[in-house]
């Protein structure tokens, strides 16, 4: 694995999140019925930041949940490594809410498919909207994002890595070349 390019730094990511927060509020005419669900692990931190931004704009702190979709994956039979599961944490009622599902990178769409299944088992939201920091293409399922931070067309061999301060010590988006593929 080697880094090909740094696609965004802290300031750029921050500006993208401010824009997406406005887009979410515009489309939903405010924050009245919204809840945020971040997907483990990086999506959780993005969702936390979006909540901060929305609080600065609207003065309201949205409920925030964390979703772990490991148990809903479709690749248990084909993977070599066993994925580690962790706990989902959605403590509020999602029935009739507008759920903003937050993740870092949208690629094949399979993780989002698992997430949709998982969310439905917590209740019946009135809508689910997908908020993605980077859309890198190569979809294998009919899934699209409602809010996109950055469209970055990539090659199959490449990978997009989001780094966040809380885990990695910096905020950045990197384009990575993966020789193993």
């Amino acid at each position: 694995m080697n880094i090909k390019a740094k696609l965004a730094d802290k300031e750029t990511i921050d500006r993208i999140l401010v824009r997406m927060a406005h887009e979410i509020l515009e489309k939903n005419k405010g924050s009245k019925n919204l809840v945020l669900i971040g997907m483990r692990t990086r999506g959780e931190y993005l969702a936390k930041r979006l909540r901060e931004k929305i609080k600065q704009i609207e003065g309201i702190e949205l409920p925030l949940g964390v979703l772990d979709v490991t148990l809903y994956r479709d690749d248990f039979r084909t993977r070599i490594k066993q994925p580690q599961v962790s706990v989902s944490n959605i403590t509020f009622d999602i029935n009739d809410k507008d759920v903003i599902l937050v993740d870092d990178v949208l690629y094949t769409g399979r993780t989002v498919r698992s997430a949709l299944n998982a969310i439905m088992e917590f209740g019946r939201p009135s809508s689910i909207q997908l908020c993605i920091l980077v859309d890198r293409g190569h979809r294998e399922l009919p899934i699209r994002a409602d809010y996109v931070g950055k469209n970055i067309p990539t090659a199959y061999k490449e990978e997009i890595k989001l780094k966040v301060e809380e885990i990695d010590g910096e905020d950045a988006i990197y384009l990575i070349e993966n020789e193993n593929k």
Partner: protein
């Protein structure tokens, strides 16, 4: 890190990392049990047979629920309604079940070592749900999970197992698992029910129940197994109750803060008095709830190994 073995036959020689992984994974499943829809699609398409050659309520229902909540296809087999009563041998039964393409077998049998024999007979993942007086690993794991939930960690924790140590698979599995996790383990019971050489497993033997209560943080109280001729080992039930029965006066006299576990079913008024069995020190029904989460964790970790 996946588990180091594709079967769960006992707690002996199971490394600390594996126990840790199972306990941590059970956290995830405990959360699922709190949801309105208590089901995940993880083991879809896997077939699991519950082969119970001995009676069971808790363990069998617990395994069956765990399997169904992971979306596996669960088949139940009980001896009384099967061809075993026509004289079919265990080996033939297992070979026939395997021929129907099953992925995992959960077995309970009155003969120690049966689960191990199954690993030599077929390709399925084997889970021991109790083999004679040998081991009952998922019970030990759920006991450890419950203890960890209440006490935080096993370092320097003092746990005493009370009752018929010699004929208890729960005792042996608990001793192995607790020792691996770093707890200080002792056993307490009538001397006829303490096996010779038990000290070689690194456990202390206490013959006085008051001393056991005073010195320990956790008591895991076993059932006196009257169906396994336990009555031959002490003069009368009344005498057992007098010297080893746990009641609230005894607990309050010796120590206030103690955690009481019991694997069930309880002989009320024998090993535990009713006021203790329903009282503030015990976590018996939490153990049952945690049992489903632990079994889901074991099934998930074994069922998704490649």
């Amino acid at each position: 890190m996946p588990l180091s073995n594709r079967h769960l036959l006992g707690m002996q020689n199971v490394p600390k990392e594996d126990i840790q992984l199972i306990l941590d994974t059970a956290n995830t499943f405990k959360e699922i049990l709190e949801r309105p829809i208590k089901r995940v699609p993880t083991l879809q398409g896997k077939t699991i047979v519950n082969l119970f050659y001995e009676n069971s309520t808790r363990t069998r229902i617990s395994f069956e629920l765990a399997e169904k909540r992971l979306s596996a296809d669960a088949i139940n087999f009980s001896v009384s309604t099967s061809s075993v009563s026509k004289g079919e041998s265990l080996k033939d039964t297992v070979k026939n079940i395997e021929a129907m393409k099953v992925d995992m077998i959960v077995i309970r049998h009155s003969v120690a070592g049966t689960p191990y024999m199954l690993t030599k007979l077929c390709d399925a993942n084997i889970i021991n749900a109790g083999d004679g007086i040998h081991e009952h690993p998922t019970q030990a794991l759920l006991d450890l999970y419950t203890i960890r939930e209440k006490k935080g960690s096993f370092e320097n924790l003092k746990v005493c197992i009370v009752g018929d140590i010699a004929h208890s698979r729960v005792a042996l599995s608990n001793i192995f698992a607790l020792k691996t996790m770093g707890a200080k383990v002792s056993v307490c019971g009538p001397s006829t029910m303490i096996p010779k050489f038990i000290e070689e497993l690194g456990v202390e033997v206490i013959y006085n129940i008051d001393e056991a209560i005073q010195e320990n943080d956790v008591l895991n109280v076993l059932r006196i197994q009257l169906e396994r001729k336990a009555r031959e080992y002490f003069p009368s039930i009344r005498e057992y109750v007098k010297y080893f029965g746990i009641n609230s006066q005894r607990l309050e006299k010796n120590k206030k803060d103690i955690l009481i576990l019991h694997p069930g079913p309880i002989n009320r008024g024998v090993e535990l008095s009713s006021d203790v069995a329903d009282g503030p020190y015990q976590v018996i029904l939490q153990q049952v709830t945690n049992g489903v989460a632990i079994r889901m964790a074991v099934l998930y970790l074994l069922g998704t190994l490649n």
